[in-house]
Symmetry: C5
Subunit: 355 residues, 5 copies
C-alpha cells in the first residue's frame, strides 16, 4: 500500500479557536525541559508543572523551554495564558499540519516549520513539526515527540562559553533554525545515494517493474519534501524583512546565512526532481530498447527458418510427378541452398546492425 501524501483534515467542522491536538499522536506524555543561560550562569532542569517556568521570568538571561509531545493541551493553554499568546497561535502549535511560516505578533514571534529526518536506508522521510515562540527572554520550542533530535544543539549550548551565551533569544532562534536546515543536507546526501544507485541500476541492467515503483515513490517523496522546504525560504525572508525589535540587526547576517543554505537545499531538490523526471524518460527508452532487441532475435530466427521450412515443405509433397525427387544430386544441392540462404540473411542482418 502506498502511504498517503497527506491527511490534512481532522478538524474541519470544528469552531476555529478550539484548542485540540490535530495530527498523529506520536507521544502521549508531554515532557518539558528548561535550559536557562546568561553570560555567567547556566541552569538545566526538567519540570512537571508549567508554572515552574515563572521563576525564570525574572532572570535576565535567555530561557529555552523545550516542550516534547503535544497531546497535553492544558500545558499549551497555560503557556498561552502566562505569556499572552494569541489563541490562533496556540491552535497552530497543536495542529501538526502547518505550512512553514513566520508571524510577528509584536511582543513575540511565532515560527513553525518541519524538520525532515531520514528514517532508513530505503529513503523513507519522517517529518516532525517544530514550533518556536520567541519572546524577549524566552524561546519556546514545541516538538511532536521525545527524541534526540536537538541533543547535539543542547550540548553545544551547555558547553558554549563565548558568543552564544552573551547573545539574546534571536541568536538562539538562529541556532535552532540553522540546526534544522542543516539536517536537510543529511537528507540530501541520502537522496543522492538512492538516486545514484537507481541511475546505475537503470543504465547497467534490465529495467524492472520494481525500479519503476521506486522511481514513483521517490518522486512522491520529493514532491512532499519540496512542499515542506520551499516555504522556509519565505519564512526567513519574512524574518529578514521584519522590523521586530526582537531580532537584532547583527542576527540578520546569520539569518541570511541560513537563508542561503535553504536556497541551496531547494535548488538541489529541484535538480533531483529534474534528474528523476529524466530517469523516467530513460526508463521508457530503455524498455523500448530491450523490446527492440527481443524483436530482432525473433525476426532473425523467423526470417531464416521460415523460408527454409517452406523449401522442405515443397519436397515433402506427394505428387506423382515431381522430377527433382528422382535426381541424385537434388538433396545435396538443397543442402547448399539450406546453408546459402541463412548465410546471405545473416550478412544482411549484420549490415543492418541487428546482430
Amino acid at each position: 500500500m502506498t502511504e498517503s501524501l497527506s491527511t490534512p483534515s481532522g478538524k474541519s467542522g470544528l469552531p476555529p479557536g478550539a484548542l485540540i491536538h490535530v495530527g498523529d499522536v506520536l507521544e502521549t506524555v508531554t515532557s518539558i525541559s528548561i535550559i536557562g543561560y546568561s553570560k555567567e550562569h547556566f541552569a538545566e532542569q526538567k519540570i512537571q508543572s508549567i508554572d515552574e517556568i515563572l521563576k525564570y521570568k525574572e532572570s535576565d538571561g535567555v530561557t529555552w523551554v523545550i516542550v516534547e509531545g503535544l497531546t497535553n493541551v492544558d500545558i499549551i493553554e497555560r503557556i498561552g495564558t502566562l505569556f499572552g499568546i494569541h489563541q490562533l497561535v496556540l491552535e497552530d502549535i497543536l495542529n501538526t499540519h502547518q505550512r512553514p511560516k513566520f508571524e510577528d505578533y509584536g511582543d513575540y514571534l511565532y515560527i513553525v516549520l518541519k524538520c525532515l529526518i531520514i528514517e532508513d536506508e530505503q529513503f523513507a522521510v519522517g517529518y516532525e513539526q517544530i514550533s518556536l515562540l520567541v519572546l524577549d527572554n524566552f524561546v519556546f520550542l514545541f516538538k511532536e515527540k521525545k527524541d534526540t533530535l536537538f541533543h547535539a544543539l543542547e550540548h553545544r549550548v551547555r558547553t558554549s562559553k563565548g558568543k552564544l551565551r552573551g547573545l539574546g533569544t534571536d541568536y538562539l532562534t538562529y541556532e535552532i533554525l540553522d540546526y534544522i536546515v542543516d539536517q536537510n543536507f543529511v537528507l540530501i546526501d541520502s537522496l543522492d545515494d538512492v538516486i545514484t544507485s537507481l541511475e546505475d541500476g537503470l543504465l547497467e541492467s534490465e529495467p524492472t517493474e520494481d525500479l519503476l515503483y521506486k522511481l514513483q515513490r521517490l518522486k512522491r517523496e520529493l514532491i512532499s519534501i519540496r512542499r515542506y522546504i520551499s516555504p522556509i525560504r519565505e519564512l526567513l525572508a519574512g524574518m529578514l524583512r521584519s522590523e521586530s525589535k526582537l531580532i537584532n540587526d547583527n542576527t540578520h547576517l546569520y539569518l541570511r546565512d541560513v537563508s542561503d543554505h535553504t536556497i541551496r537545499v531547494i535548488e538541489l531538490i529541484e535538480s533531483y526532481r529534474e534528474i528523476l523526471t529524466s530517469l523516467l524518460d530513460i526508463y521508457v527508452s530503455s524498455v523500448s530498447n530491450r523490446m527492440n532487441e527481443v524483436m530482432k532475435v525473433l525476426t532473425v530466427f523467423a526470417s531464416i527458418f521460415i523460408p527454409l521450412t517452406f523449401l522442405t515443405g515443397i519436397y515433402g509433397m506427394n505428387f506423382d510427378y515431381m522430377p527433382e525427387l528422382k535426381w541424385k544430386w537434388a538433396y545435396p544441392l538443397l543442402w547448399v541452398v539450406f546453408i546459402t540462404i541463412p548465410v546471405v540473411l545473416l550478412v544482411y542482418f549484420k549490415r543492418k546492425k541487428w546482430l
Copy 2:
C-alpha cells in the same frame, strides 16, 4: 458521456445590468433564514417576505441572512433596493458561473466563491456558488440550493457564548470563509484515497483501459478544482490589503489564517496534479513493460520450435536419394538434436534474463 467542463454562456447577448438567473436551476423555491445575535440576544427566524428584514436594521447586533435558491429574482432585486447594492453585484450573485473574487464597494463588501463538496465514492465533485454581502450590521449569504451545508456553522453560532457573539460582521465573514475552505480538506482526503488506490492498482496489477479512463477523469476534475480554488488566495489577499472600515484590524489575523489554509490546499492540489501526471507516465511504461513480456514469450516459443520444425521438414522430404533415412541411429540422434537445441536456446534466453 464525459460531463462538460463548463457551460459558461447562457447570457451572452443580453444587456449587462439585466437581472436574470444564469446557471443550472438547482432549487425552484427561494427560502430565507435570519439569524440575529449580539452579546446578549439571539434570534432565529424563517421569513417569507424580504421586507421582514427591515426590522433588524435597527438592531445593533449582527444579522445573518441566508438566502437559499436563486430563481426568485425579485428577492435579490428587493435586497438590492433596500440596502443600496450596485446592479452589477446583483447580477453577479444571480450568475452562478463567477470566478471567486472580493470587491470593496465602500459601504459593503462583495465576496463570491465556490464551495466544493465531494459527492460520492467515485470522486465526483459538486460546486455550489456562495455569495456574501457584508454590511455594517448584516451578512447576506446567497446559496444555489437548500442543503445542510452550513448547518454545523449555524449551530456553532447558536450555541456560541463568547467571542463570536461579541464580534462584528467581519468575524462572521471569517467564520464562513474558514468553514468553506475547510470543506476542501475533506475533498483532499477523498482525493488522496482515490489517487492512492489508482497508484496501487497501477503498480500491482495489469494496466487496464479503465484505469486510463479514471486517470483522465481525475485530471479533468483537478484542473477544474484548481480553477475554483486558486483565486480564493487572491480573494483573501484582496481582503487583507483592503482598507475597508468594515474589516477590523483584529480580524486580519484570522483572515491570514484562512489564507494559510488556502495556500496549503492549493499546494496539495498542485502536488496531486504532479502525481497524476507521473502516474500517466508510469501507465505508459507499464504497458510497454507488459508488451515486452508478451514479446519475450512469443520469441522464446518461436525461436525454439521454428528451427526444430525445419529439421523435421528436411527428413519429411521425399527424395529418392537421402542416405540419412536409411541409417539406424538417425532418428534417435535427431532426438538428441531436438533436445539439445531448446536447452541451448533456453540457457541463452536465461542469460538474457528473458525467462
Copy 3:
C-alpha cells in the same frame, strides 16, 4: 492543407506612416452607419460621405460611428484629419494583424482587439479585428467586414431608455467590449462540445489517425485563440490604470467586470489546453494498449500451434527406423498431446490475463 497560423507581413519594407490596408480584403465597399443618442434624442443614419459626420460634432449626446470595410483608405484618412488622430493610429486601424492593445492619446483613446466568431460545427474560428476610437462625444468602431455581429448591440442602444442613454462614450465603450468578450463564451461552449466528443471518441473506440489530426488542429486553434485573448486582460488593466478624463470613475466598476470575464475565458482556455495535452498522452497510451492486445493474440496463436506443428513434423519424417510409427496407439496418443498442450497453454495465458 493545414491553414497558416499567421500571415503577418505584407507591409514590411514600406515606410512607417504610409496609410495602406494590410490584411485579407474581406469587404471591398466601405459603409458607414451613425447612431446618435442622448437622454432625449435618438437618431440613426447611413451616410455616404464622411463629412456628414461633422454636423454631429455640435450635438452634446453620444455619436457612435460604425465603419465597415477597411479598403477605402481615404475615409480613414479623412476621419484622422477631422478629429486629429495620430498617423500611427490610422495605420494600426488599417493593419488587421494587430495585437490587442489600449493606448491613451490624451484627447482620444485607441482600443484594438479581435472578435472571435465560431464559424461552423467543425470548430473553425474566424477572427475579425475591431478598432475603437473613443473621443469625448464620439465612438468610432472600425470592422473588417459588413456582418450582423453588432446588430444585437445596436438594437439594445435603439430600444434602451434608461441608463445607457444617459451615460457617455466610456459606457458605450464598455458595452462594446463586454459584447465582444461575451462572444468568447459561445466559442468556449462550442470548444467544450468538440473536446468532449473527442474525449469520448478516444476512450470508447479505437484510436484513429483522424482523431490525431483533429487533436492537432484543435491544439493549433487554441494556441491561436489564446494569442488573441490573453492581451485583452492587459488591455483592460491598462484602461483601469489609465487616468484619462475620458473614462469616468463609475465606469471602472463595469470595466472590472469585463476584466473578470476575460480572466475566466483565459483560465478556461488554459484548462482546455491542458486537457488537450493529456488527451494526446492518452491517445499514445491507447495505441500502445491496442498494440499490446494485437501482440497477445499473435502470441497465443503462435505459441499454441508452433509446438504442435513441430510434433506433426516429427512423425511426418521418412526414416526407415521410427518405431512409434508402427504402434497402434501412437496416433490417438498424439491426439491426447495435441489437446493437452493447448489446454495447458491456455490456462497459463489465462493466468497471465492475456485472454
Copy 4:
C-alpha cells in the same frame, strides 16, 4: 553535420578593452557611406578616410554613417576617438556575439541587435549584427558585411520629403529599428510555410526519419531565433524608460509601435515552438500507429495460416494406423475446414476492426 548553435568564445583570455574583431569575418574590406540630410538639404557620399566625416559635424541636419565590414579596427577606433565613445562600446561593436541591448551613455546611445535574414527555401537563417551609435546629429550604423539589406530604407530617406527629413536622429533610429524588426515577419512567413508543410507531411504520409531530422533542425533554429529576438523587447523597454534627452517624447509613440511588433513576433515564435513540440508528439503517435498496423497484418496472416499448417501437418504424418487417411471424404472435408477457419477468423478480426 549539424551546424553549431554558437561559437561564443574566441576572445576569452584577452584583456577586456583590447579592440579586436571577434566573430566570423564576413567582409575583409570596410566601406563607409554617409547620408546627410536636413529639411532642405540632402547629400550622399562614399568616403575612404573616416576623417572626412568631420565636416558633417558642423551641419545641423542629421548625418547617417553606415559602416560595412568590421575587420578594419582602426576605423572603429578612430570613430571612438573623434566622438568620445567609451572603449567598452567599441569592443562590443567589434564583437559580433552580442546579446541585443540598449545602453545610455549620456552623450550618446548604444544599441546592438541582430537582424535575421532567411537565406533559402530550407529555412536556414542568417544573423547579421547591427550596432547603432546615436548622437545628437549623427547615427552610426555598423554592419558585418556589405549587402543590400538597408537599401530600401536608404531609398526611403533619399526620396522622403516630409516628416523624416524634419526630424532628428531619434526618428531615424526608430526607422532603422522598425525596418529590422519588420524583417522578422518575412522570416515568420517562411517559418509558417515550412512548419505547415511539415505538418501536412506528417499527417498525410508515412512518418520518415528525414521528417524527424527536419523537426529537430527547425526546433534548434527556433531556439536560436528566440534567443536573439526576445531581448529586443527589453531593449525597447529600456529606450522607452530612458530619460535621455536624445530621445524626443514624440518618438516614444513610434518606439512603442516597434515594441508592439516585437512582442507579436515573440508570441508567434512561442506559438510555433509549441506547435513543433506537439508535432514531435504526433510523430511518435504516428510511428506507433504504423507499427500497430504492421503488427495487425502479421497477426492476421500468422493466426490464419499457422493453425491450418498444423492440420496439414497432422495428415502428413506417417503412422501406420491413421484411419482418416483411408476415408474417401476426408480430404474434401478437410478443405471445408481449411475454408471455414479463415472465414471465422476474418470475421473475428473484422469485428475487432483490425481489417
Copy 5:
C-alpha cells in the same frame, strides 16, 4: 558508477562559527602570492607567513593576495583578525559548497562563485570555488588548489601599463570576475561540440544504449552547471545595486558588461538544455522507428512464406484419395502459385511503403 551530484553536508551538527575546512581537500599545502601595484610601482612576491602582508597595508597602490589551498585554517583566521573580517565570511571561504553570492559588509565586500573548468574531451566539468575579499587597498582571492587558472590574468596585470594600474580594487575585481565568466565560454564551446556530435550520432546511425547514457550524463552535468552559473547573475545585480563606496561609479559600466556575458552564458545553457530534452525525445522516436523497420521485415517474411508453407503442407498429406497428386501438371501449376503469391504480396507491401 555515476558520480554524485553533490556532497553538501559534512559540517551539519557543528556549531556555526567554527572554522573548519569543508569540502574535498584538493591541496594540502597553502601557498600565498602577492602582487602589489600602483601607477608607478609593481612588485610580486611569494610569502610564507601571512604577517608579511602587513607592510603592504601602508602602500597606496592595490595589493592582490592569492591564497591557494584552504586546508591551513590558521592563515584564513589570521587574515580575518588582521583585516577585521566577520566570522561567517571566514567560514564561507573555508566551506567549498557555497552558492555564488555577493555580500556588502561595509568595510569590505565578499564575493564567492564557482569557476568551471572543462577537464577532458568527455565533457567532465571541474568546479573550483573562488572567494574574493575586496577591501579598500586589498583584494584577497582564495582558491581551492594550486593551478595555472589565473596565470594569464596575473600576466596581464604584470605587463599592463595603462588603465588597470591606475585604477582601484574594484577594477581588479571586475577583471577577475570577467576572467572567470569568460572561462564559461570555453566550456560552452566544448559543450556545443559534444552535443553536436551526439546529435549527429543520433540522426545518422542506430540509437544505442551508450548514447542514452551519454545524454543522461550530459543532462546531469548541465543541471549542475546551471545551478552554479545562474546565481552569478544575481551576484552581479547585487554589486550593481550596491551603494558601497568600494565600487566606483565608472566600474559599473564594466560590471554591466560582465553581467551581459553571464546572461548570455545562462541563455546558452538553457538552449542546450532544451536541445538535450528534444534529443531524448528524438532518441525515443528513433528507437520506435527502428523497431517499426524490424517489424516490417518480420511481417514481410512471415506473410509471404507462411501461406506457401501451408500449401506445401496440403500436398504433403497422405490421404489415399487426393486426386491432385495424380495430375501431371499439378506440381508445375503449384510453382506458378508459389511465385504468384509472393509477387502479389510484395506489390501490396510496396504500395504500403514497407519495402
